[in-house]
Structure formats: C-alpha cells, structure tokens
Amino acid sequence: MEQQAWVRQYAFTFDSSSCTGCKACQVACKDKHDLPVDILWRRVYEVTGGTWKKEGGVWVPAVLSYYLSMACHHCQKPICGEACPTQAIYKRDDGIVMLETLACIGCRYCEWACPYGAIQFDPASRVVTKCHFCYDYLALGEPPACVAACPMRALDFGDLSELRKKYAGTREIFPLPEASLTEPALIIKPHRDAARASKDTAEVANWEEI
C-alpha cells in the first residue's frame, strides 16, 4: 500500500486466529531498526491458560493458547504524549505517534503510563524508544517491516477508517486493557480461545522473552 495523503490515522490490524507465533514480525522490526538487546518495538505475547476439566467420568484437558503481536498502537488518545513533560511525544497529521529522542529527558513517565508496553527505555542512549510505524518505508510506498515479514499475513496496516470497513474485530482481548483508556488504532481478529482467556485465568507465558 502506498502512503496516501488522505490517511487520518494509520493503524495496524492483527489476526490472532492465524498467527503461529513465529515472531518473524518481531525479528524484522528488530533488524530494520537495529534495536539493542532488551528492546522490542514489536513483541509477540504467548497467552496460555486452562486446566483439566471433568467430562462425565473422564478428565480432559481444557487448555487454551494464542499469540498476540503488539507494537505501538498509535492511540487516538495517546497517554504517553499526555504524560510527556517535554512534548517529545507527539502525534503526526497521519496519526502516527512519534518520539523526538533529542527532546527526551529520560524521565520514563510515558513508560509508566503506556498500557501496551510500547515505550521502552534504552539504557545505552538513556532515553525511551518506540515504534514509529516505519514512516520512512511509508514515504517510499512500502509497508512497515513487521507487516511485510509476516508469513501468515496476520498483520495488515492502513487508514483506520478504511481498515474498519475491511475487517471486523475488537480492540480488547486478554491481556489488553479497555480500549477507552487510550483509543488504540488497532483491530484484532480474536483467536477462538480469547473469550475464555480471562475466565480461565490465562497468563502471558513468555515474559522473560519480552
């Protein structure tokens, strides 16, 4: 998709039902931006849960597992930008939430606030970092690195209003917060297990990786 002048709000879509958790998106992002160890602008969360369930006289496994590929959702109400004391975080006309690292004082207030873990502190540069939607690729008419890398085509991007016509989905899926907190520019096609996740005390199983 080429960068279009009419884009009001760039957004990602993610199809959790087709994601295999290969983490190609995560690796492509890390490679493209040459991110240091411990910094992941796109992260793949492994959500697992469930237990044994008695059916008749037999105990059967009733477990669940799915993946979530999450980056900055370039929220329409970006709490990171509200919190930032230096206006280092701002929203472009096309909806991309940008970070001006030269204006960052490293107070990490934005990192406290973001409910998607999108803002990450880089100990080497002493400032925070975040996904910028590969705006440089967009300018060349190319998709963001993560979208291009996904072998399952589980990721897509575009203008939020156009994507809403194309995809049905949600913005709230375990373990993400209520969308009204920040109005993320995001559409998720949930995995079939997602509805059970919060009831069955599912957890993110790979915290050590992300």
Partner: protein, 288 residues
C-alpha cells in the same frame, strides 16, 4: 520492562523531601499568620528566617536528587514544555513558584520587613503554591492505566506525609525559631496536636486503601510484580515506626525535651520512607 522500587530511590527522596519542605513551610506560615508571638511582639518574621532558608535548601536538594532519576538530566530545562497536559510539567512549575515565594519571604525576613498585608499575602500565596505543588505531584502518579496509583491513596498519602513530617521537622529545629520559651511551648502544642492528627489519618488511610493496592487484579491486569504477602512486613514496620513517633511526641509534650521531637521526626520519617517504598513497589499497569 518492569519498574521496581529499587530503581526509584531518587523519587522516594524527591517526594519525601519536597513534602517535608511544604509541610514545614505551612507550619512556619501558620506560626507567622496566626502567631501568638507576632501579634504580641511584632517581630516574628525575622525569627522564621532560618526555617525559610532550610525549606528552600530542602527544595533544592530534592530537585537535585530527582535528577538521578532522569536519563538525560542536562535536558531537564525542557520539562516545562508541556503544561497543557503533563502533570510532571505542572509539578515542576509549581515547585519553582513555591521556591521563588519562599526565597522572597526569606528576603523579607532578612530585611526585617513589617508584618504588612503584602507579607501576609505572600505567605498565603506561597502556601497555595505548596499545595498545588503537592497536588500536581500526586496527580502525576494518578495515571488511569495504573490502578494502584489511580485512587485516593496517592493524594492522601502525599499530603499526610507533608502534614506529619513538616511540622515535626519544624518542631525539631524550633530552638532556631524561637528565642523565648513560652513561644516554643505554644508552638509545641500546635505541632504535637497536628502531628498526632496526621498519624491518625495515615493509619486510617493505610487500613482503608493500602490492602486494595496489594490485592488488585482486574481481568485484564498484568500480574503484580510485588506480591501482596510481601507488603505485610512493610505495613507492620510502618505502623511500628508511627507508634514510636506518637510515643516520642507524647513524651516530648510532657517533659519538654527537644531531642525527643527529633526522634519523633526520625521515626515518622522512617515510617514514611517505608510507605513510599511500598508505593513505588506496587506499580503495575493495566495491559502488558
């Protein structure tokens, strides 16, 4: 990605020292505006000069320590750039306004200014800036994505720390403030009563609000990084230190020994350090 209290010592120091400074100033302002001695002798302003200098020094020290929290402290001058939405910008603005007023009042005291309406108005304005400083400091933490901080516990604990530690700090140094014993005794009464009231309110806040922080887990919240059971030793020791502070305050009132007020301040300070450590330790945001 996680934030731990161990990394937040500069903020623990900044918040507590700032709250001591504001609380101590309120005490000095009350002693000046409603003072038993100023009315009688008309000379109080000069006597609060050491107190005002100490308040200003505390504010500067707090700000200096907060720089250790910043990744890029040399850029700190940019911190006022987002007054429109950022409570951190507003906090620093009100801190600077408060500091400026304290310095101005110290100048008035140094010049032995008369207790005019202008000076009294300056005390009131400075007190207001101090309150706004603490209010914006608490609002900074009341992020809607951090339920443990997004509640009454945050502003109540910040203001009560000021109302407990500030008067005790002023009382601990009261020999520098008062020349005549009868003034010190009257001051001691006021400080003792206000400190005891603050302790009572802090205990109430601990009982009503702290457990909810520990046991919080909404359906979409991440796991607490600080397990609830680990909170109890902190809570118990905090209450013990508060009890020790009450003991010293009561004893002080009876025997009129200044060192006991210093002990009360140290005990209460230890209690508030534990409370503030816990405050940062229970950080856990919604989402991932």
């Amino acid at each position: 990605m996680s934030l731990t209290a161990a990394k937040e010592w500069p903020l623990i120091a900044f918040t507590l020292l700032s709250q001591i400074a504001v609380g101590a100033f309120w005490t000095l302002a009350a002693a000046t505006l409603f003072s038993w001695e100023a009315r009688v002798r008309g000379e109080n302003e000069f006597l609060v000069l050491p107190g005002l200098v100490i308040v200003a020094a505390l504010l500067v020290a707090a700000a200096a320590l907060s720089f250790f929290h910043l990744g890029r402290p040399k850029r700190a001058v940019l911190v006022l750039a987002n007054l429109r939405t950022s409570w951190l910008s507003r906090e620093i603005l009100f801190e600077l306004a408060f500091l400026a007023m304290v310095v101005l009042l110290a100048f008035f005291s140094w010049r032995r200014a008369e207790r005019t309406a202008l000076v009294q108005g300056a005390y009131i304005l400075a007190s207001l800036f101090g309150a706004l400083f603490l209010y914006s400091m608490s609002r900074l933490y009341m992020l809607r994505t951090v339920p443990a901080w997004h509640g009454l516990y945050t502003p109540l604990s910040f203001f009560l720390s000021a109302l407990l530690l500030g008067p005790l700090a002023a009382a601990a140094g009261q020999k520098r403030l008062f020349t005549f014993p009868e003034r010190a005794y009257a001051f001691q009464d006021v400080v003792g009563v206000s400190a005891l009231a603050a302790v009572a309110l802090i205990v109430l806040v601990i009982l009503l609000f702290t457990p909810r922080i520990g046991f919080l887990r909404t359906k979409t919240a991440t796991l607490l990084e600080f397990p609830a059971r680990r909170m109890y030793p902190f809570l118990v020791f905090r209450l013990l230190f508060l009890a020790a502070a009450v003991f010293f305050i009561v004893l002080y009132h009876d025997v009129e020994r200044g060192a006991l007020m210093t002990l009360a301040f140290v005990s209460a300070g230890a209690a508030e350090i534990l409370g503030r450590y816990l405050f940062y330790a229970v950080y856990s945001r919604l989402g991932v």
